[in-house]
Symmetry: C2
Amino acid sequence: MDGPSAARPHKRVTITDVARHAGVSTAAVSKVMRNAYGVSEAMREKVRAAIADLGYRPHAAARGMRGRTYTIGVLLDNVRNAFFADILDGIRDELRHTDYTVLIGAAGFDPEEQARTIRSLVDRQMDGLILIAPGTPRAEVLATAASTPTVVIGHHDASDAYDAVVDADDLGAGLVVDHLVALGHRDIALVSAPGSRANKWKRTPEAVLSEGYLRAMEGHGLAPLARVHHTAYSDDGGFKAGMTLLTADRPPTAVMTGADVAALGVYRAAHELGLRVPADLSLVGYNNTALAALAPVQLTSVDQAGHTMGSAAARMLVERVESRRDRAMQTTMTPRLVVRATTGAPRGR
Amino acid sequence: MDGPSAARPHKRVTITDVARHAGVSTAAVSKVMRNAYGVSEAMREKVRAAIADLGYRPHAAARGMRGRTYTIGVLLDNVRNAFFADILDGIRDELRHTDYTVLIGAAGFDPEEQARTIRSLVDRQMDGLILIAPGTPRAEVLATAASTPTVVIGHHDASDAYDAVVDADDLGAGLVVDHLVALGHRDIALVSAPGSRANKWKRTPEAVLSEGYLRAMEGHGLAPLARVHHTAYSDDGGFKAGMTLLTADRPPTAVMTGADVAALGVYRAAHELGLRVPADLSLVGYNNTALAALAPVQLTSVDQAGHTMGSAAARMLVERVESRRDRAMQTTMTPRLVVRATTGAPRGR
DNA sequence: CTCGTCGTGGATAACGTTTTACAACATCCG
DNA sequence: CGGATGTTGTAAAACGTTATCCACGACGAG
């Protein structure tokens, strides 16, 4: 009898136990675990049996003291963004049948909080990091990447310190503008995210998107009509942007946004102002998340293949962790327009 | 010159470096870090200064070898469920100003995969675990809880091995039925999740919800009209359920679902069958996620206060980790009905 | 025969922390 | 002043792995 919680934590099986049970050294067991060079088939068999007998599972913290932890850390600002969920699925599927485990740090939007989370991941000896559109200063990411293999998703700023996976957001913007112009629109507004606050990322997804939008408008001779409204990518942000744009002197006949959820906010604003979609207003989202396909919405959007981006990132990262590659590389995905029910010819045509 | 990646990984600052820099023992530094007993104010000051000077950050893996890792692991089946995002936010907010970091393992729905993820978290020496509606066999959760403090969210099965946070789903179901009956409905169907496959959880959220629904129907003398349709909580699952129910001989005039996303699937089915909501069909969701409030939907739903559930879980877990409490406890939240635009009087009234 | 060489397995020193035990010293009380 | 009682700091032993040697025997070439 020793107190109420007598349920003894049942001591862990260690490598020493396995070694003793198999009648070999711990070094041998370790070698088998990592399938390192210098073990005979007989030895391998013997050790495997002992491991199975005892149900041995290596202690990750102890591993982290010397070698790998077999853990990949993912930094995310926002769990609510369905696009990120696609990326996560891609990462998970790629890593499913390997020894690696994926752990997610959800940091929120605050750059300081994100930096803290990145440090946490590094302190916990992650073998590699996948940072999804980090808002931390670029310098900090570079410093992290110097000590831990890192893949950055989203930002177009290239570097030889980290690998990168991006979507050709400028092409995406072009697809949308072309589509709308073909329908007869001329007055097309873009709702994008607020610019980075001096954190040294020059080519964020938003920036590249805006760039592509402006270039496309220019290409159609519509440069004077171009206007970009900045707001948070959220339902509420979209709503406010919509209110501002649609109550302006000369409201646009079409609005494209950098995120589906923001497009739904604009939709709500239009609804409230008595405008019908797409009769009075054409609306285009971005990312083609599940939201866009949803029941009464049927939002025209741009598909970014989040799943593919995630698996590409995971593959690239593992290559680096296992040092099968020592040069930085960058993967660019091509976006695709998915036309649904929220775009049509403008009324006054 | 030593190869292309000459950017030396810049050796970590260790506790030894701090001790040397402050002219004290490593033990003293350790005590200050954990603010343990037996350090003078002067010592504390000296060490603090050294830590700041060197920018020391403790190595979590090394910590994990003896004491805590200051990491809380969260098991999640599905990142897409917005309700879980609320819970996560609650956990994060509760832990924000502590030393703990939250790491999320996203496992998917497969029980085996979930079990693997739980093991991964344990192997990585998490100080505590929060399991959100785990699909793994109950026995496995009990075994885990025996060695690591654990909070289970969702399942109503109580135990003295783990703490639990649940919503009174039976009351929630009652609220919905009462609301619909008050509007004049009698033929009310429930769309719930498929039952657990012999994993020994008897009182899953779905089960308790169904129970509450049946009891409420009975209370109104509508037991003969009660019917429960089981399907996956997804847009597609909801769509199929809706199709089945609404094309039946005697279709219900109102449908309540166990998740908002499924309600939207039913909405889509109704739409496709030419039924208008709420004129021809009243529809109620569950969880009051952001989806429910969305633009053109305005779904009546039941609010579960996910944020509060998350912070309660985190608070309870930390109490256990720091062994300020040694008895299991269970927190039950009261749900609240949020009436929006998808419920109204039945037509044939 | 002698040398290397190769293939295999083991001893053992890290890795960076926490924690236990104890030494040194100060303080208090009778 | 002697002993009991605190207080503050340190030395050193874990913790469970990995990786670097080294030893040993077998074998093939000269």
